[in-house]
Each structure stands twice: as structure tokens, then as C-alpha cells.
């Protein structure tokens, strides 16, 4: 079984690797590239601990073959914080104690970010169904759902603030508080 040469982009960086045809993207990330933030809980797409984004789409990296990611864009947990600045979801997970053992946390964060980039005003039910592909055995999900809802609230506030700023720049008499938008702006990274 000869190895396959693959050129791809991970967290904004161009990456090249070789892998056997029987290796999953998760195997490649963990064993070839040393990116062990994505976890293998089942290897069958049932637990979500290996969640990554592939061209903006939430996937289980254990169900994607390493050899098929050439030319695509991959986002993993390692790319979530910008330098020393945590993503708002990461910060809220800490504040809400939304992790106990922490093994499922990278997968939940990647999945939750994918939700909030589509919809920054989800209902509790929407959050629960979106995250139903990610298993957590420690928390009973309560604090995870609260952390996601709280992040969404902050994102809406920030969005309202920035749109109010823009509006006031054009028209100084604009209302201080703009109504929160129902639909999220798509993340620039996934605009394509």
C-alpha cells in the first residue's frame, strides 16, 4: 500500500503530508501532524470528539479519509484561539465550568462555533439538536448548553454594538441599541 501525497490547508496554513490510503483525516491530524486536539472516542462517527470543519462544514474527521482532503480547507480546535486570545466560546466554557474531564471539549467547541457562525440566536432546543452528535459523559450537557447560549448572547450584543457604531457613523442621531439580528454574519473564513 503506497503512501499518498496530499496538499491541504489547516487553520489557514498550507500543509503537506503523506499518508496511507487507509488512514483517516483524524489519524493524519493526530499521528502524522501531531495535532492531538481532535480526539478519537469511537472511530465510527458516533461521538463527535474528532469534529473539525471541512470547507466550513462540520464533519467527523474519523469518517474522512486523509487522502481526500487535498485542496480543501480544514479548521481544527488548534486554530480556534487567535494567538493568546481565546475564542469567546472557549472563554465561556471555562467560566461556565462546561467541561469536567475535557476529552469531548474540543469537539463541542468546534461544533458550537459552526452553529453560531450560522445562527447567533439559537433557541435552547436548536443548541441541543445541533450538539446531539457530540457525546459528553461528564456534564449532563447543562453547563455546555448554557455556555453556548451565553456566547450567542454576547455575540449578538457585540454585533448590535458594531452595527450601531456603523449606523451612528453615518447618522449621528441613530438609536443607541440596535435590535439584535436574527441571522449571523457568516464567518469570513467560510464565506467562500
Amino acid at each position: 500500500m503506497s503512501a499518498v501525497h496530499v496538499s491541504t490547508n489547516i487553520n489557514g496554513d498550507d500543509v503537506e503530508f503523506v499518508c496511507r490510503p487507509d488512514e483517516s483525516l483524524l489519524d493524519v491530524l493526530r499521528d502524522r501532524l501531531g495535532m492531538t486536539g481532535s480526539k478519537e472516542g469511537c472511530g465510527t462517527g458516533d461521538c463527535g470528539a474528532c469534529s473539525v470543519e471541512l470547507d466550513g462544514r462540520l464533519v467527523c474527521s474519523c469518517l474522512v479519509m486523509g487522502a481526500e482532503v487535498g485542496g480543501h480547507k480544514i479548521e481544527t480546535i488548534e486554530g480556534m484561539a487567535q494567538g493568546d486570545k481565546l475564542h469567546p466560546l472557549q472563554q465561556k466554557f471555562l467560566e461556565h465550568a462546561a467541561l469536567q474531564c475535557g476529552i469531548c471539549t474540543p469537539g463541542f467547541l468546534v461544533a458550537a462555533r459552526n452553529l453560531l457562525e450560522r445562527n447567533n440566536d439559537p433557541t435552547e432546543t436548536e443548541v441541543r439538536y445541533w450538539l446531539a452528535g457530540n457525546l459528553c459523559r461528564c456534564t449532563g450537557y447543562d453547563k455546555i448548553v448554557r455556555a453556548v447560549l451565553d456566547t450567542a448572547k454576547d455575540m449578538r450584543k457585540a454585533a448590535a454594538k458594531s452595527s450601531a457604531k456603523k449606523a451612528s457613523a453615518k447618522k449621528p442621531a441613530a438609536k443607541k441599541k440596535a435590535a439584535p439580528k436574527k441571522t449571523a454574519k457568516k464567518g469570513a473564513r467560510h464565506a467562500a
Partner: protein
């Protein structure tokens, strides 16, 4: 010693304790940087894989490894012959990690390979030829107790003559009771607890309810599969990196199984991706060491999810009978139970603890519990959160629910009437000290959830639960750094935020900021022996040892201040992060802060560190009361948990968020147990659902928010009043949900899980009986 003045036996005023700071290991865990078991790698490491029995019970006639050994890239193949029996080792553990002559369950390890990569290792496994002779098997606990059942361990357990024993009718059918003729048995142990005279007690009862109950085996379901990396050098020195709840246990057991001096094996625990009791024993660790020893290279072994289900330690399935008699006013007059738990292929099911917990919530004058430990062709059970207690509580609390309904008494009131309190002689022997069951019942009754009006097909359930909590061997060191910050070395693996709790307690005791204390989990060569992180013991025991180690350090720091000031040591006291003269007679010196003392440590006598070692006792039990509302769909039998409330006694919540987290997590595991989860065996004795698709643990959309109330009845055994909280939360949910279903649709569930087809069949049965 003036320290005593500001360190009372039971502290009640706190600055740091009870706050909710971010955990010290938090950033690593939200950024993917934290290293769990499978995240560790060594240069030149090999991949280890294990060949497992496809049969539930089979004689292993021969194993031919020659073809596998000849495959290029294979560096070692081992069977039981490579792990010869050592004097004094635990034979059951030895046999469990690698079959010796007989495969005792589907998934039992038979051989193992180490190869240059996973692809080669997988090929090598296929080349190992095992000649099996399939034997008759038994996986059900009641079947395993019958006289004609296949015997797992011929010659090991004596036959039992039930005719001479209490409640024989509930142990087996009439015909079996009479016969004690066969040579051997699968009954590995029998336990009896209780006091008074239940037979007399039942004569005073106005109402007696008795039923049989069955629960299926469930798995802890930690998301991180077992993983380890072993490196054995040619001089016999070895290192092991592993996800475990007990690195010292792993070291001692592996050394014993492999015939090594304990000092030659250093075990470093990784971050642990959940355990719940399932990582309190060894499975792959001695195998990885044996492979590494043979190959002369590091070997990494990671279980697949299927292996986790088939070959680690789920909890017992249980078959139970419970009988309770009560007066019209709800007072219990007698209680009786027979519990039969199968614990897999080896003795050690948690039936003894199940028996001790069964009636522990209640003040009973006449009570008896008989428990049977039974072996079957299933993987050897391991601890699962309050091992043994959820099953017996399911039966007992179900009967109590029925008595309350029949007498027309409120479900909380009947429990309040009979609740165990300080001074109650427990059903398992000891007399309770201060305990908080009554407080949990009262808080549950006062909670808004208990007043919500229910709609059609909706029902409410109540159940209480108990867990002992353990303490045990604990050793802690705290080192003062040159800048006045502290390094706290703990030997109890952090499963759910315990480092944060330890830092809070150390900061509290020193009167300094939480951020100035950094806790690590030490390896086995860096700290004295610590028992496993189990039995809800960590925050209690390591907390106690942390506080005492800090007190040791404070005495030493006061000594340095005395030296600097030139006054006697006992004329110095510690307050708010600094040494002070104890009184006006001691002299008038400005306080010396911890930073100042640290800076002068070298000049005043050398490094400063505090230590404490103890075999701790005094872990106070934790009681809980749960209230649950469900809605059942009468057309499908599916149910939805609408509301769920956990009220539990924490003694003192050090970090309330992680206390709530334990309450919520345990409750949802319990909800999974009652609704979906079960080990499903085929006719051939093989596990049919060894994956998360078919073994369905609750997902986010299955459950509501889990409401919590933390009750604090201080435990006098801990300087801050702490009780362990990790386990009690899984005890009440099975009965709590079942009682709610009964309230909703009038169907009493006595076998778990209450999957939709079972509920639907029961509903149809009710409809038919009414027609």
C-alpha cells in the same frame, strides 16, 4: 501552638472556598493542548494491538503465532506464556488481561502484537491461529445460578444449599432450591446485612408490597478509550504513560504481574477523559509493558471503542426481590431484600455495596438484605459510580413509591417520615453521624419544580439515594517557590476539576490568592503512595491532606519569621498570607508576607515545603433526593424528561460549579441507564451492541437542564466540612424516572431499560386488563 487559634477544627467562614474561579487546567483543555492517554508518543514507538476471543466461553486448544511473527514489521507477539504467573500476584487480574487456557467472555484477550504501524499490526492479528473448542456459556445472572448452568471456574466455588438459607424462594426456583447435588457453582459470594426481625416486623404491617426487579448491565461510557505507552529498557527499568484513575495502583499491579520491583516502574498519569470507576483496574497496561519488554522498544496501545465495550469493566446486571411493610401512616415496619448481581467472569460484583446501600436511606427497626455475587461469561465488571447502589435503590425506591401511592401519602412526606438521620442505626451496621437526607427532602419539597402542574400523560417521580464515600491513603506536598507562589503536588488524578478545588483550599488556608497556587498531578516516583481517585474521595482526602500540608508549611514559615525577628517560634501566628507576632508581648514587628519569607528562605534555613501523609477516615456519607417530571407518548412508548431536580448534601461545596457538575452528570448517566442503555447479548453469548450507535448514551437533545440544589450539612471529619459528591447522584435516577412514568401512565417499570417497546407493551397490557 498558636496556629490553632485561626485554624479551627471546622471552619465555617471562607474567602476562597465557595467561589467559582476558572480551573487551572482549563485553557489547555479548551485549546486542545491538554495531553490525554492517546496523545502521548515516544520516538520509535510501536503500535500494539490485542487479539480477542470471538467466543463467550471456549477452551483454547492451541495458539500458533509463527506466521504473525514472520510478517515484516512485526517486532513482538505475546500470549499468556510471555506473562508467566508470579508468586503473590492477583490471579484473576492475570487471567483477565490475557486468557490462560480458557476464554471466559467475548472479547477476552488471547494474544497481542507490536508492529511498526497499525496497518502491519492489524495484518499480524489476522495471522495468529487460535484453535478454540467452544463451550456452553451463560450470561444471565438467574440462569448462572441454576444447577445445570455451565460452570465458569470448575473446582473454585462450593455449591450452595439454598434450602437452609433465608429467602431461598427468591434466589432460585423451587426445584433448584432442593438440589445441592452438583459439584460446583457460579456463586462466588454471599453477603447478609441487617438487624431486628423482619418476619415479626411484617406482622405489624397494614400494607406489604413486594416485587421482583431486573436491571441490565451498563457501561461507564467515558469518551476516552483506554490508552497507554510503555517503555521497558533492557536493564529492566520501565516507564508507563497512561490514562487511569490510579497511577499507583497501575504501578503496583503491573509490577506484581510482570515480576518487577516497584521501584523499576514509573507511572505518569495523563489527563483522563472520564473514568467513573472504569479506569480503576488494569487491562492493556501490563500487556503493553510485556510487548515493550519483548520488542525492546516503546509500545503504545489504544483500545477501540468496540474493545472498550467488550473487554473493559461494565457494571453488573442485577436480579432483585424487595419487600417492604408499612403502617397506614406510612411508617415502615420491616424491609427485606435478595439481590443477585453478576459481575462477569470473576468474583467481585458490587453486590455487597448494593446490599449495604439498599435501605441506607431509612430508619428501620427490622431489616434484612441478602446479596449473591455470581460469575457469568461476561467481561469482569469494574466500579461504576456508586457501584452496586443504583440497582438496589431502583428496586427499593420503586416499592416505596408504590406504597406511598397506595396509602395516598406524598412521595416526599413518606420518605421524611422514615428518613435516616443523626443517630440512626444504618441497615448495614454503623450509626450515622450528622447527615443531610432530611435537608435534601425538605429542599426538594420547597423547590419550584415540585409545584409545577402536570398535564396529560405527564408524571412526577421522587427517589432518594445514599453513598458511603471513601477516604483512604493520601499523600500531598506543597512547595513554596522563590517568589512566594506555590506548587501543589497531588497524587490523586483529577477527573472533574479537583485541581481547582485543591488550589482553593490551599489558598484559603494560607490566606492568599487562588492564582498563586498551581496544582499538578505527580507521577508515582515523585510522591508517596495515593489510593485511586475513586469512592468520591478526592476532594475529601486530598483536600484534607492539602490543608494539613499547608498547615505544616505555615508552621515552618512561622519558624522562619521567628528566626528573622529573633523571637520564639510559638510567638508567631499566620494570618492573611503573612506571619505576625502572636501578641503585643511577642514584639512589635511588621508582618512578613509569604513573598518576603520565600525570598529569604535560602538565608533562613533552606527551601520551604509542607507535607502530609494519611490513611484518611471520616468521609461523611452523602444523601440525595431527586425529583423528575416525564411525559410519555402513549402511541409510541417513548418518553421525554421534562424537568429534573437534584438536591444533594455536599457538606461544603469547595467549587460549587464542579459540585453541580457532579450532580448533573450523575443524574444524566442514571437517566441513560433507565431509558436506553443496556448490554445486549446474542444467543451465542457475544455482545451485540459494542458501539455508541447501538449502545445509546444520552445525547444533548435527550435531556433538559438539570436543576440543582446544594445542601451543606458539614462533615465533622473534614476541616472545612467536605463530603464527597461524585457518586450519590447516580443512585436515585433509575427509580426516580420509573416512579415518574408510573405516575404518568400507571405502568410500573420493574425491568430496565424502559425502552419504548417495553413501555408500549406495558401500556397495552394495562389497556387489555381494563377491557
Amino acid at each position: 501552638m498558636p496556629l490553632d487559634a485561626n485554624t479551627p477544627d471546622l471552619r465555617t467562614e471562607f474567602k476562597s472556598v465557595g467561589t467559582r474561579p476558572n480551573r487551572p487546567d482549563g485553557v489547555d483543555k479548551v485549546t486542545g493542548r491538554a495531553r490525554f492517554g492517546a496523545d502521548f508518543a515516544l520516538p520509535g514507538q510501536l503500535t500494539g494491538l490485542i487479539l480477542r476471543s470471538p467466543h463467550a466461553h471456549a477452551k483454547i486448544k492451541s495458539i500458533d503465532t509463527s506466521a504473525a511473527e514472520a510478517l515484516p514489521g512485526v517486532k513482538a507477539v505475546i500470549t499468556y506464556k510471555d506473562i508467566p504467573e508470579q508468586e503473590g500476584c492477583d490471579k484473576d487480574v492475570l487471567v483477565n488481561i490475557m486468557a490462560r487456557g480458557t476464554a471466559l467472555y467475548d472479547g477476552h484477550a488471547v494474544a497481542a502484537v507490536a508492529a511498526v504501524d497499525a496497518s502491519v499490526a492489524r495484518k499480524a492479528l489476522k495471522l495468529i491461529k487460535v484453535d478454540y473448542k467452544v463451550l456452553k456459556h451463560v450470561t444471565d445472572v438467574d440462569e448462572a445460578m441454576k444447577p445445570d448452568a455451565p460452570v465458569l471456574h470448575p473446582g473454585r466455588f462450593e455449591p450452595v444449599d439454598f434450602s437452609t438459607l433465608e429467602n431461598a424462594a427468591h434466589v432460585s426456583g423451587k426445584e433448584e432450591r432442593k438440589t445441592a447435588t452438583r459439584a460446583h457453582s457460579n456463586i462466588a459470594g454471599r453477603y447478609v446485612f441487617g438487624h431486628g426481625d423482619p418476619d415479626k416486623g411484617f406482622k405489624q404491617a397494614d400494607i406489604i408490597v413486594e416485587h421482583e426487579f431486573k436491571t441490565e448491565a451498563t457501561h461507564q461510557g467515558y469518551i476516552e478509550p483506554h490508552a497507554c505507552t510503555a517503555s521497558v529498557s533492557s536493564d529492566g527499568m520501565a516507564e508507563l504513560w497512561v490514562c487511569t484513575q490510579g497511577p499507583f495502583m497501575v504501578r503496583d499491579v503491573c509490577a506484581s504481574l510482570l515480576g518487577m520491583d516497584v521501584s523499576r516502574l514509573r507511572v505518569t498519569p495523563s489527563e483522563i477523559g472520564g473514568g467513573f470507576g472504569g479506569k480503576t483496574t488494569v487491562f492493556i497496561e501490563p500487556v503493553a509493558l510485556a510487548l515493550s519488554r519483548k520488542a525492546g522498544k516503546p509500545v503504545k496501545v489504544v483500545m477501540s471503542r468496540s474493545e472498550v465495550f467488550r473487554a473493559t469493566g461494565p457494571t453488573s446486571s442485577a436480579s432483585m426481590w424487595v419487600k417492604i411493610g408499612a403502617k397506614k401512616d406510612g411508617t415502615f415496619v420491616a424491609a427485606d431484600a435478595v439481590l443477585k448481581y453478576q459481575g462477569g467472569a470473576f468474583p467481585g460484583s458490587p453486590v455487597e455495596m448494593g446490599a449495604m446501600c439498599a435501605f441506607a436511606c431509612y430508619d428501620l427497626k427490622n431489616v434484612r438484605i441478602v446479596g449473591y455475587d455470581v460469575v457469568t461469561n461476561r467481561p469482569k465488571q469494574a466500579a461504576y459510580r456508586a457501584p452496586g447502589a443504583p440497582m438496589s435503590a431502583f428496586a427499593v425506591e420503586g416499592v416505596i413509591g408504590e406504597i406511598a401511592d397506595k396509602l395516598g401519602i406524598d412521595a416526599i412526606d413518606i420518605r421524611l417520615k422514615n428518613a435516616a438521620k443523626e443517630g440512626t442505626v444504618s441497615s448495614y451496621g454503623p450509626t450515622f453521624g450528622p447527615v443531610g437526607l432530611v435537608e435534601t427532602l425538605e429542599a426538594a419539597k420547597a423547590h419550584k419544580n415540585y409545584k409545577v402542574k402536570l398535564g396529560k400523560n405527564q408524571g412526577r417521580g421522587v427517589a432518594s439515594g445514599f453513598w458511603f464515600n471513601f477516604a483512604g491513603n493520601t499523600c500531598v506536598s506543597i512547595n513554596l517557590n522563590v517568589d512566594g507562589t506555590l506548587a501543589l503536588a497531588l497524587g490523586t488524578v483529577d477527573i472533574g476539576g479537583s485541581r481547582a478545588s485543591m488550589c482553593l483550599m490551599a489558598a484559603e488556608e494560607l490566606g492568599i490568592s487562588y492564582e498563586d497556587v498551581r496544582a499538578i498531578i505527580a507521577d508515582t516516583s515523585s510522591l508517596g503512595y495515593n489510593d485511586i481517585s475513586e469512592g468520591s474521595r478526592v476532594t475529601f482526602s486530598s483536600g484534607l491532606a492539602t490543608i494539613k500540608a499547608v498547615r505544616d508549611l505555615k508552621v515552618k514559615m512561622c519558624g522562619r519569621a521567628a528566626k528573622i525577628w529573633g523571637i520564639p517560634e510559638d510567638a508567631v501566628k499566620w494570618e492573611n498570607g503573612a506571619a505576625h507576632p502572636a501578641g503585643s508581648n511577642a514584639g512589635n514587628f511588621p508582618p512578613l508576607s509569604i513573598k518576603e519569607i520565600a525570598a529569604q528562605a535560602s538565608a533562613t534555613g533552606g527551601p520551604l515545603a509542607g507535607h502530609y501523609e494519611i490513611n484518611a477516615e471520616g468521609a461523611g456519607p452523602s444523601f440525595a433526593t431527586h425529583v423528575c417530571d416525564v411525559e410519555v407518548d402513549p402511541d409510541t412508548g417513548a418518553m421525554k424528561v421534562l424537568r429534573y431536580l437534584v438536591v444533594q448534601d455536599a457538606g461544603k461545596a469547595i467549587h460549587p460549579s464542579y459540585v453541580e457538575g457532579q450532580f448533573q452528570g450523575g443524574a444524566v448517566q442514571g437517566i441513560g441507564w433507565v431509558l436506553n442503555e443496556e448490554y445486549f447479548y446474542g444467543k451465542d453469548g457475544t455482545l451485540q451492541n459494542a458501539g455508541f450507535l447501538d449502545y445509546r448514551i444520552p445525547v444533548c437533545s435527550d435531556v433538559p437542564m438539570i436543576d440543582t440544589v446544594i445542601v451543606e450539612v458539614p462533615n465533622p471529619g473534614h476541616p472545612y466540612g467536605v463530603r464527597g459528591v461524585g457518586e450519590t447522584s447516580i443512585v436515585p435516577p433509575l427509580a426516580c424516572v420509573a416512579n415518574a412514568v408510573s405516575d404518568a401512565i400507571g405502568v410500573r417499570a420493574r425491568t430496565l431499560p424502559m425502552s419504548p417497546p417495553k413501555v408500549l407493551a406495558a401500556l397495552e397490557g394495562v389497556a387489555a386488563s381494563k377491557a
